[in-house]
């Protein structure tokens, strides 16, 4: 137990049928911590244990409060834990109106309304659900239901918000409708969140820290930008999705060609124009498959983004044509997925200088972190 005011300390070890969970990690009580991994890796089980809905042997401390310590037979019942829990399906109470749903947790928060950090009117305004208050839950759209569910969780005055794939059941347009609300929530309320997801784009856009899980075990954790560089994430991510996240600064816009120029540790990148002021920071995702390598600075090609770097590591995948090359850009790392034949032909080896070529098109809109400043 860290006993740290500003940390959550999680450790669970136990079996559920044929599934074994054995994880331990800490997270700061600010920002968004993502539990990331394929379905069946145990991320939802961890969240249920944190909410007290499931009791696996282990320890859980939130700040100075101990919610569970199996060695001392301490287990706080779910209704005594100040968490907000948001599920994939909104699970609104069908017998209550939107207002009734929102007030359900508010009335049970154990605090007087004047002491509430999150006031009814503020939360309603923040989530834009004012016009829905008098309605029943059956007529709401998927996005509206999820916003009401988030509002209901917030109004129970939680110390910590647990989100179990809150966007997974929504189509991509509705997702884009909800994500800005989550970002606003983060910016204005400073509500710490543990966010379960199997969607890389979502994690890249929202999370500050990430815990990567596979088969009930933690395989990596840390700030999202550094964890992504590690090659051993491959067991959790299929090759098409492998990549890195870079924190960059907006330098200027080229309105004639509709491009935005970004600075990354002195090197320039161009992406299709985004609506962000020069000087602001944002995070971009570069997939390994969109990065190709050259041993001299290339000329006469259409690719605009050429980054100079030094090869840090090469991992050849035995029995396949593929190899992953890790290129140090002087501060950050990009990954490139190339063939083993190219590695041999270009005589690539750790320590060699290379040029990483990134197609502009690789900066897809979803991977742009439009709402949050970078972690630095």
């Amino acid at each position: 137990m860290s006993g740290d005011d500003a940390m959550g300390d999680v450790a669970f070890r136990g079996t559920l049928g044929a599934f074994t969970l054995d994880v331990a990690f800490t997270f700061p009580m600010r920002g968004i911590t993502a539990l990331f991994g394929p379905s069946g890796c145990g991320k939802t089980t961890i969240l249920r244990c944190m909410a007290g809905l499931q009791n696996l042997p282990g320890c859980l401390a939130i700040g100075r409060d101990i919610w569970q310590d199996s060695d001392r037979r301490t287990f706080l019942k779910p209704h005594r834990r100040p968490v907000g829990y948001v599920l994939q399906e909104a699970s609104l109470f069908p017998h209550l109106s939107v207002r009734g749903n929102l007030r359900f947790g508010l009335r049970r928060s154990g605090k007087r309304e004047s002491d509430h950090a999150l006031r009814f009117d503020d939360v309603v305004a923040l989530l834009g659900i004012g016009p829905l208050l008098g309605r029943g839950t059956a007529t709401l759209s998927g996005g509206e239901r999820q916003r009401v569910a988030i509002g209901r969780a917030l109004l129970s005055q939680p110390q910590l918000l647990l989100m179990d794939e809150p966007l997974a059941a929504l189509d991509s347009m509705t997702k884009d409708e909800i994500i800005p609300y989550l970002e606003t929530l983060q910016k204005t309320l400073h509500m710490p969140m543990v966010y379960v997801s199997h969607d890389i784009a979502e994690v890249a856009r929202l999370a500050d820290r990430i815990v990567v899980l596979s088969n009930g075990r933690k395989i990596a954790d840390g700030p999202v930008t550094t964890v992504w560089e590690k090659l051993d994430l491959q067991s959790a991510i299929d090759r098409a999705e492998a990549g890195v996240i870079l924190a960059v600064r907006v330098v200027r816009h080229d309105t004639a060609f509709r491009l935005t120029y970004l600075d990354h540790h002195g090197q320039e990148l161009a992406i299709p124009m985004v609506d962000r002021a020069p000087g602001s920071t944002l995070r971009i995702r570069i997939l390994a498959r969109d990065v190709s390598l050259a041993i001299e600075r290339p000329s006469g090609i259409s690719i605009r983004n050429v980054l100079a770097g030094i090869i840090r590591d090469i991992i050849e995948e035995p029995e396949t044509a593929h190899a992953e090359v890790l290129i140090d850009l002087g501060g950050a790392v990009v990954r490139s997925s190339v063939t083993r034949a190219s590695v041999a032909e270009l005589n690539l080896a750790p320590g060699h200088a290379v040029f990483a070529m990134v197609k502009s098109i690789a900066f897809d809109k979803l991977s742009l972190n439009l709402g949050l400043a970078g972690p630095d």
């Binding site: 779910p78 209704h79 968490v83 829990y85 109470f93 947790g105 049970r108 154990g110």
Partner: protein, 227 residues
């Protein structure tokens, strides 16, 4: 054409018996249904079978055992002794006890089904919103199971109105005390008073039809996702 005094006492008594039985059944049946729906005990299906037994047992068999239990030498007689009586058999109170046993499955089953239909999810959500178990039961489980309670109340009431075998065994035929509708009809037929029998029988027919319509309406609303 007929003086009402003959016909109305059994009707009044029947409605009184059915109403009392329904209230007692809802009070006793709800916790049983809740336990059957939520418990993970392996022997709960044994309890469920005991509750369901009146569905298949001949009413006369139930009536026979109830007669022994309620009589002067059974526990019913002991209870009656506390209030200065000799036996619960052939009393209104005895009829209520018999009706509760006999109609129990018709009340427990719909409520249990309703409790099972909405699953763990709403209760877990309520728990994360700080609702205690008692609070969750009253503010989430009961409202969500409302159609089940309606069906249970209607079936429990109607089944009590219609019972005959058990009543005959433990209630006998005492006017204003145990002479209920079904027994009165039997009586009229025995004594060849066909007109009176007709009036009561038609009344029961209409009543039964309305009950079926009511249950079906509730069922349909339940399937459409409630209110």
């Amino acid at each position: 054409m007929l003086e009402g005094s003959d016909i109305w006492p059994p009707v009044r008594l029947t409605l009184q018996l059915a109403a009392t039985t329904t209230v007692v059944l809802l009070i006793l049946g709800t916790p049983i249904a809740w336990w059957l729906a939520r418990s993970r005990q392996r022997w709960k299906e044994g309890v469920a079978a005991v509750v369901a037994l009146p569905l298949v047992l001949p009413p006369t068999v139930i009536g026979f055992y109830l007669l022994l239990a309620l009589g002067p030498d059974g526990p019913g007689g002991w209870v009656a002794g506390l209030f200065g009586g000799r036996s619960l058999a052939f009393t209104f109170e005895g009829l209520v006890i018999g009706s509760v046993v006999y109609s129990m499955p018709f009340v427990v089953q719909p409520i249990r089904n309703a409790f099972e239909a909405f699953g763990d999810r709403p209760l877990e959500v309520a728990a994360t919103l700080r609702a205690t178990p008692w609070d969750r039961f009253w503010t989430v489980a009961v409202p969500l199971a409302r159609p089940g309670f309606l069906t249970a109340a209607v079936l429990g009431f109607a089944h009590t109105v219609g019972e005959f075998g058990v009543v005959l065994m433990i209630g006998g035929n005492i006017p204003d005390e145990t002479k209920v509708l079904s027994v009165a009809i039997y009586d009229y037929v025995e004594t060849l008073q066909w007109a009176q029998a007709h009036i009561l029988a038609v009344g029961m027919l209409v009543f039964s039809f309305l009950v079926i319509v009511a249950v079906m309406t509730v069922d349909r609303r339940l399937k459409r996702g409630g209110s």
